[in-house]
């Protein structure tokens, strides 16, 4: 049955094909996400897709292609570039936008970048506030977007578990967890006043495992950094720090070659790598099964303060 289903789903577009009567969880999640993408594109004046280059964004982008096929994706992609993204990510981003045929917008908080903002000079919280949250709010305001898709999932972090699929934001982009609109069935309330906006999370109900399985089933391209390779790293105890930025190094510290990969893609100074031999998607999934720590555990920014993601979201972060 699985082999047959795979074959069926890969059938050439010209021939009509039958479907199995029972849909598996990935088909169910896909159908729900496509419904959300189409609702937003139809009900908002100026939607945009926040494209962060990571695996979740890659899935979201594929779902957008599916939602509007054979028409092109009817909204642009927006990347909030902190200036600290891995070089491979930027190359991948430009290539994906070209392949998909989507308009790509890039927004950076240039004054803060010029002022030398980095997570070591400042603390991570203030660095994120300037390079991510502020840049995001400025970018959305600059282009006057009224709806922005994000690839966040509810299984990622505890404040996200309580967020709606349509997450209402006031004119300052802020989330009020105590005053969210009830969301019933698949009926989403898209009404906003001028200046207000909605963040939309089409992958809300996907888990990390679902995302990897979907990438595997659908052959979705992802950044090479997810796959294990010999890479130069600063090794500090259990932590592996990529050598992308000079200021990360401590005096006298020398990088070592370590077979490693990234579990989630953030800014290079704040994203630790893990030792790994996983060179393929099935190997990553295999590794995921044996993992005993949650994926954001390697992200410094979620832990800098108790309830830190909740605080960031209240301030306007995704």
């Amino acid at each position: 049955m699985p082999a047959v289903e795979t074959e069926i789903l890969r059938a050439p577009s010209s021939a009509s094909r039958p479907l199995p009567r029972r849909l598996n969880h990935l088909r169910l999640l896909e159908a729900e996400s496509i419904h959300i993408l189409r609702e937003v594109a139809s009900e908002f004046e100026r939607p945009v897709m926040l494209y962060s280059i990571g695996k979740d964004s890659s899935v979201m982008l594929r779902l957008a292609q599916k939602a509007f096929y054979p028409a092109p994706i009817p909204f642009p992609l927006l990347h909030i570039d902190t200036g600290f993204k891995f070089r491979e990510m930027i190359v991948f981003r430009d290539e994906m936008a070209r392949q998909v045929g989507a308009e790509l917008l890039v927004w950076r908080n240039e004054p803060a970048i010029a002022a030398g903002t980095n997570p070591i000079a400042l603390d991570t919280r203030r660095c994120c506030a300037l390079l991510k949250t502020q840049a995001l709010l400025d970018g959305l305001r600059h282009y006057n977007f009224d709806a922005a898709f994000g690839g966040a999932r509810r299984d990622e972090e505890k404040s996200r578990a309580k967020e709606r699929i349509y997450s209402f934001r006031d004119a300052a982009g802020q989330w009020d967890p105590k005053n969210q609109r009830p969301e019933l069935w698949n009926l989403y309330n898209a009404r906003i006043h001028p200046g207000e906006s909605i963040r939309v999370f089409p992958l809300s109900n996907w888990t990390e495992m679902d995302v990897w399985q979907y990438i595997h089933e659908e052959n979705i391209p992802v950044v090479d950094l997810y796959f294990a390779k010999e890479r130069p790293m600063y090794v500090r105890g259990d932590a592996l720090l990529p050598i992308e930025q000079d200021f990360v190094a401590r005096p006298g510290e020398k990088p070592q070659m370590v077979k490693s990969r990234l579990r989630s893609l953030g800014c290079s100074p704040c994203t630790g790598a893990i030792r790994s031999d996983a060179e393929t998607i099935p190997a990553i999934i295999d590794e995921l099964i044996s993992f005993r720590s949650s994926e954001r555990a390697n992200r410094v920014i979620d832990h800098d303060q108790d309830g830190s993601m909740e605080i960031k979201k209240r301030e306007g972060y995704f």
């Binding site: 699985p2 082999a3 050439p12 021939a15 009509s16 094909r17 479907l19 009567r21 029972r22 598996n24 969880h25 896909e30 159908a31 729900e32 496509i34 419904h35 594109a41 139809s42 292609q65 599916k66 939602a67 509007f68 096929y69 054979p70 028409a71 509810r154 299984d155 404040s159 578990a161 309580k162 967890p177 009830p182 019933l184 069935w185 698949n186 009926l187 309330n189 009404r191 006043h193 809300s204 109900n205 888990t207 990390e208 495992m209 679902d210 399985q213 089933e217 190997a283 999934i285 295999d286 995921l288 099964i289 993992f291 005993r292 720590s293 949650s294 555990a297 309830g307 909740e310 605080i311």
Partner: protein
């Protein structure tokens, strides 16, 4: 999330774990959504924490972060902390909002809508139940059946959650006494029967005695593990969840396809994108578009991954029809046989969710499938007293009230009864001023014909409301006092008549001369109550026209007739008699 793949991994390790086999098994898994609710202290968080922990769905770092915290004895884990969400909640020790959680077993994947159980959060319970295939209702064995359990069971039944799993928790506190469990079961079965009579939907109930704290009958059967409750030989809660019939959003097999978007990438392609709400469709079948009633054959079922011969709910697809018929977003493509109703007057059960109570003089926006239409509530038929399970007359519905109402829609829509279809029978109401979602509704009756045609108002119920009058006349009732040259007043009325306003001229001079001032005022009131525009006219000087409405007064140059007429239309907008252009596009 780690998922429970560990469980499988352990099983497979013995046989030599193969990732290929694992992925093949994953492809077979479906998805079950269930909701949970309970009172503050009946151990809901502990139960969910236990489900996640015992199915190995939590990471070590999450467990480490809560070790030694919470209210349990040293060395034990307070499972409730695993589901703790927001700072504000931890500070107050309560749950504020619906939280969604995910886990999976070797058999299927699960989404939990975890809803708080305080009395004021009925709306959250309804939110969680709206997408659920099953609901877990918690009862604290040491306290017996509480109002919250009734409330949750009622909402589950009202929203047509078919399976209700009643977890009688804290069995450890009552020494695992079978008689207590049986008494609670008997009492709650009687309540469920009463609820079914009221909502018209019987739920399938399953009772399980559990101790979330000790882990008895949550994931593993107590009889096999701890040895507690040897008298219970039924399945553990998780076994039940794994065995429930697969996702089945609706019993209805009629094809229903609300159009979300028309895809027109170039002149050669015109497709209707949407998610199938119920039933199935094959290439070559004839379908009808509602509300127009036009028919066409399905030429192609298009997806990114290739055309399909057949598609069924809940797939998201794009339909190409064999001929050009006028279909746009919000229309419903459906079976030729077994058509939906097309109605402007409906009855619905409502769960009121807003601080501002229901106001039958206001216009709301009704969102149903992919369209939104203005609607007014013509009457509140009753409110449900969830404690006594009685209907009581009510002038309005307040936050967290459940009741039945009649609704009048400005345009006819194609719909089904909620009991027949959980997608095309569901609606939400939005307050057009605050944009808040104020109510969730389930259609219980629809008056109308199968396709759009002559309006049938005979099906409306109760007293005609201001909202209905406004819907018919296109404006609100109001008095416009005019003093000026008679021919100019005639021109004003002519201009109002021309835009479709319904006016009635009151000759104030004549009534005043006859000493009938009181009659004049009563007449004007009656006209305004009927939703008409009462023109209270007096002859004045030739040079000027004075006009007043809604507390606004203006004086105009009578020579410039065009300007005067325009100014009076603006005055009517300002006075709220004419609905402003922003309101008109509602």
């Amino acid at each position: 999330m780690l998922e429970v793949t560990l469980q499988i991994a352990t099983e497979m390790e013995d046989k030599g774990f193969e990732i290929g086999e694992f992925l093949a098994a994953e492809r077979e898994k479906d998805l079950l959504r269930f909701s949970t609710a309970g009172s503050v202290d009946d151990g809901k968080s502990t139960l969910i924490g236990r489900l996640l922990y015992d199915t190995q769905s939590v990471y070590d770092d999450q467990v480490r972060s809560i070790e030694g915290k919470g209210t349990t004895a040293p060395g034990q884990i307070d499972f409730a902390l695993l589901t703790d969400g927001l700072r504000a909640e931890r500070e107050q020790g309560i749950t504020i909002d619906v939280a969604y959680r995910y886990f999976s077993t070797a058999k299927r994947k699960f989404i939990i809508a975890d809803t708080p159980g305080h009395e004021q959060y009925t709306r959250n319970m309804a939110t969680g139940a709206s997408t659920a295939d099953a609901a877990i209702v918690l009862i604290d064995a040491s306290k017996g059946v509480q109002i919250q359990s009734r409330r949750h069971a009622y909402i589950a039944s009202l929203l047509r959650v078919r399976h209700v799993l009643v977890a009688v928790n804290k069995m450890d506190l009552i020494a695992y006494e079978e008689s207590v469990f049986r008494a609670i079961e008997a009492e709650f079965r009687a309540i469920l029967a009463q609820i079914a009579q009221d909502t018209g939907t019987a739920v399938e109930a399953h009772f399980v005695p559990v101790s979330a704290l000790k882990g008895d009958n949550v994931v593993h059967r107590a009889a096999k593990t701890s040895g507690a409750m040897p008298w219970y030989d039924g399945p553990a809660l998780l076994e039940l969840l794994e065995a429930l019939p697969a996702i089945n959003r609706t019993q209805n097999t009629s094809f229903r396809f609300p159009v979300q978007r028309v895809l027109r990438p170039d002149h050669t392609f015109r497709g209707f994108a949407g998610q199938i709400a119920s039933g199935a469709i094959r290439v070559g079948e004839t379908v009808t578009a509602f509300p127009s009633g036009r028919k066409a054959k399905v030429e192609r079922i298009v997806t990114f991954d290739g055309d399909l011969e057949e598609a069924f709910a809940p797939l998201s697809i794009t339909l190409v029809l064999d001929r050009e018929i006028d279909i746009s977003r919000g229309d419903l493509i459906a079976d030729r046989e077994d058509a939906p109703a097309v109605a402007r007057n409906i009855k619905a059960s409502l769960v009121w969710m807003d601080q501002r109570p229901l106001d039958s003089n206001r216009r709301y926006l009704l969102k149903h499938t992919s369209h939104t239409v203005p609607a007014s509530i013509s009457s509140v038929e009753h409110r449900v007293d969830l404690g006594a399970l009685r209907h009581e007359p009510a002038p309005t519905l307040r936050m967290n009230d459940i009741g039945a109402v009649s609704l009048h829609l400005l345009q006819p829509i194609a719909l089904d009864l909620y009991r027949d279809n959980r997608s095309t029978g569901a609606l939400i109401l939005i307050d057009p001023e605050t944009n808040a979602t104020v109510a969730a509704g389930m259609v219980t009756a629809a008056q109308g014909q199968t396709v759009a045609g002559d309006e049938d108002e005979s099906g409306a119920w109760g007293r005609v409301t201001a909202g209905e009058r406004e819907a018919r006349w296109g404006h609100r009732g109001g008095a416009l006092e005019l003093t000026g040259p008679a021919e100019l007043i005639d021109a004003v009325e002519r201009s109002l008549f021309a835009v479709g306003a319904v006016t009635s001229l009151v000759d104030a001079d004549e009534l005043d001369r006859a000493g009938k001032q009181q009659f004049r005022d009563a007449l004007a009131d009656a006209l305004v109550q009927s939703g008409l525009i009462a023109l209270i006219a007096r002859t004045g000087e030739d040079g000027a026209l004075t006009a007043s409405a809604g507390g606004f007064d203006i004086t105009l140059d009578a020579q410039n007739q065009m300007h005067a007429v325009t100014a009076i239309h603006q005055l009517l907008r300002r006075a709220g008699i004419f609905i402003s252009s922003e309101g008109a596009d509602l």
